[in-house]
């Protein structure tokens, strides 16, 4: 099974990349689950035509009891992708990290993977590995690979470096390892050189080069990914290539 967690600086395009990767995997025939792990709960909205799913934490807050069915906290989006959002506590209160851990326990209790039988699970994780809860998606049994989204901007590379170091710190724990970098271009001068220099320094591969594209914004305004909007676009092809790479690698592990 393909199990990938996507990290990166806040606002760098993690949700865009994750949703497009989910859509690409789905369009290549895979059963996909995307789990947004951010209190903003906006990871899957462009797989759902702009109509958001009820986040797990919102459900718990509104009903004061745990859901008994996966359907109560999920919706099916483009290409059959099962969309789930952890959500978060009331802003300024509680513990968002704990919320992720609780959500994962709940999804286990609901036997999500056994019932849905996904080929791929994508975790879209808030900005940085700020505490234990935000490392939950890379714990054993969850994601096995981490993709870091970065542009050539200084602070994005700074965050990418922090994430890479944090994941390395967990190497004694049988956690996921960093598979590579998604270069999400932001039209920064010398962007490719900067990102590749960072990747080389850390022994990482740039697994996807996503061009800056107004089509992404155009289709997001319509509640869609570019894969859904127009899969023949160059930017769509890049996501499809990344999806194919993950599928091929998974075949090597589980032939």
């Amino acid at each position: 099974m393909i199990k990938v967690a996507i990290y990166g600086k806040g606002g760098i395009g993690k949700s865009t990349c994750t949703a497009n990767l989910s859509a690409a995997l789905a369009s290549l025939g895979k059963r996909v689950i995307q789990i947004g792990c951010d209190p903003k709960a906006d990871s899957t909205i462009n797989l759902l035509g702009g109509e958001p799913v009820t986040p797990v934490m919102n459900y718990l807050r509104e009903h004061d009891e745990e859901p008994t069915l996966v359907e109560q906290i999920s919706r099916i989006g483009y290409g059959g992708v099962l969309c789930i959002e952890t959500g978060g506590p009331t802003p300024g209160l509680g513990c968002a990290g704990r919320g992720i851990v609780s959500t994962f326990s709940l999804l286990e209790e609901l036997k999500l993977f056994e019932k849905f039988k996904p080929d791929a699970v994508l975790y879209d994780v808030l900005g940085d590995v700020v505490c234990g809860g935000f490392a939950a998606p890379i714990r054993e049994g969850y994601a096995s690979k981490v993709l870091i989204v970065t542009s050539g901007e200084k602070m994005a590379l700074y965050a990418a470096n922090n994430i890479n170091s944090a994941v390395k710190n967990f190497q004694d724990r049988s956690y996921a390892s960093v598979r590579g970098i998604i270069m999400n271009r932001r039209a920064v001068e010398g962007e490719e050189e900067k990102v590749r220099a960072f990747a080389d320094k850390n022994g990482l591969e740039v697994v996807a080069d996503i061009p800056r594209s107004n089509d992404i914004i155009k289709y997001e305004d319509m509640g869609k990914t570019v894969i859904e909007g127009d899969s023949s676009l160059e930017v769509s092809k890049r996501f499809l290539s990344l999806a194919q790479l993950l599928i091929d690698e998974d075949k090597e592990v589980c032939p």
Partner: protein
């Protein structure tokens, strides 16, 4: 208010269940929690604490270590303690504070095992569930980690879910073993009490598992999945029901099918209520039903017992107000004495102390009901 207890006690928590389940296996059980006091987890509801040594420790988690996520301190302490004490394994489990900070005990176990070379198991607890969930998870981990494939031995039985929290040290464990021997069976393993790690290792050679409390249910299911061992659910309470249970064990050995005689052999409903853990209560209800020909209700009061043994008219109710309401219709109530304040004065109350609920308070009163005349033992003659 839901799920509150203003008057009655509450059941021992999941961490106490872990300590009780693993007490005799020569392992070191470490609860990641503040303070160093063991009384919360073991002394109040663990009768073996006073005459049998066991390595049960608290990590003495500090606020700073919790905030900083200083797992390294716990791992180092585990390694140091293991070097001095040479436990056969280490079990780590959590309390509310690490639950809130999302400590990954599986990862800590993995890391500690790599450093010490000693098997380390992480048992999923947070101090907010019942002893059934904790003991059930601990037994399951023990079976997963230590059981090895063996050839099946005819006539052998695994007794699953035997902790003093459900079966006090009042001779009932010995009675269960004697009853099995009298029925022509041999005890292969008795998970929880009067046991050793060797028994966990040979769990797979039993012909049938007998689940005598909800604490053993997960392990029974695991042993069936892994080794194809069928299980029978019920405690040998009373003479008539024990005979049925023995027949069920023979039938399961023959057919390989599971069975729940404490559900199938009982008349439902009625004005007699048994309150407590579901499997033992349902077994007692079954015996009383067989003896009197009348229906007996089970009010499962832990909230996390095995629900499949509940019959029509039974209910799982762990909320004090709801339980009080449900008890209103009962003319005879068989329950731990700490339930008395929420029972009607008009009802006949029959004291049946349960160590997981009232700890040491009434432990000397707890009767051994195994394969015996329960009507006489509980003083029920003329009452039901």
């Amino acid at each position: 208010m839901n799920c509150t207890a203003r008057i009655i006690s509450i059941y021992a928590a999941d961490v106490s269940g872990v300590c009780s389940a693993l007490y005799e296996y020569g392992g070191m059980t470490v609860i990641h929690d503040a303070s160093g006091c063991n009384s919360t987890y073991t002394t109040h509801d663990e009768p073996r604490w006073y005459d049998t040594e066991s390595m049960v420790y608290i990590s003495a988690l500090t606020e700073n270590d919790a905030v900083m996520g200083n797992d390294e301190k716990l791992i180092t302490d585990l390694c140091d303690a293991a070097e001095k004490l040479h436990p056969r394994f280490i079990a780590v489990c959590g309390s509310p504070m690490p639950a809130m900070t999302g400590v990954d005990f599986e990862a800590i176990a993995y890391d500690t095992e790599n450093r010490t070379g000693i098997p380390v198991i992480a048992v999923d607890t947070n101090g907010m569930h019942s002893y059934i969930k904790g003991a059930g998870a601990a037994f399951m981990k023990l079976a997963e980690r230590f059981s090895k494939p063996h050839d099946r031995l005819r006539g052998t039985i695994n007794l699953l879910g035997v902790t003093p929290l459900d079966f006090s040290l009042n001779g009932s464990v010995e009675s269960m073993k004697k009853w099995l021997a009298d029925c022509g069976f041999t005890v292969n393993a008795c998970l929880g009490t009067d046991t050793s790690l060797d028994e966990a290792e040979r769990l797979s050679q039993a012909e049938v598992s007998l689940v005598v409390s909800s604490c053993g249910m997960k392990t029974a299911e695991y042993l069936q999945r892994k080794y194809g061992i069928p299980y029978v659910v019920g405690a040998p309470v009373g003479e008539r029901f024990s005979r049925i249970l023995a027949d069920s064990l023979r039938a399961a050995a023959e057919s390989g099918e599971n069975s729940l005689p404490c559900l199938s052999e009982r008349a439902c409903g009625g004005e007699v209520a048994v309150v407590g853990e579901s499997i033992i209560s349902a077994s007692l209800a079954c015996e009383l039903s067989l003896e009197t020909g009348r229906g007996v209700r089970v009010l499962e009061s832990v909230g996390e017992s095995e629900m499949s043994v509940l019959a029509e008219g039974d209910i799982s109710v762990d909320d004090e107000d709801m339980l009080q309401h449900e008890l209103k219709g009962a003319k005879v109530i068989i329950a731990d004495p700490l339930f008395i304040p929420i029972c009607s004065a008009d009802a006949e109350f029959v004291r049946l102390p349960h160590e997981a609920f009232s700890g040491r308070c009434f432990s000397k009163e707890i009767p051994d009901l195994i394969n015996t005349d329960v009507i006489r033992k509980l003083g029920l003659r003329g009452k039901i």
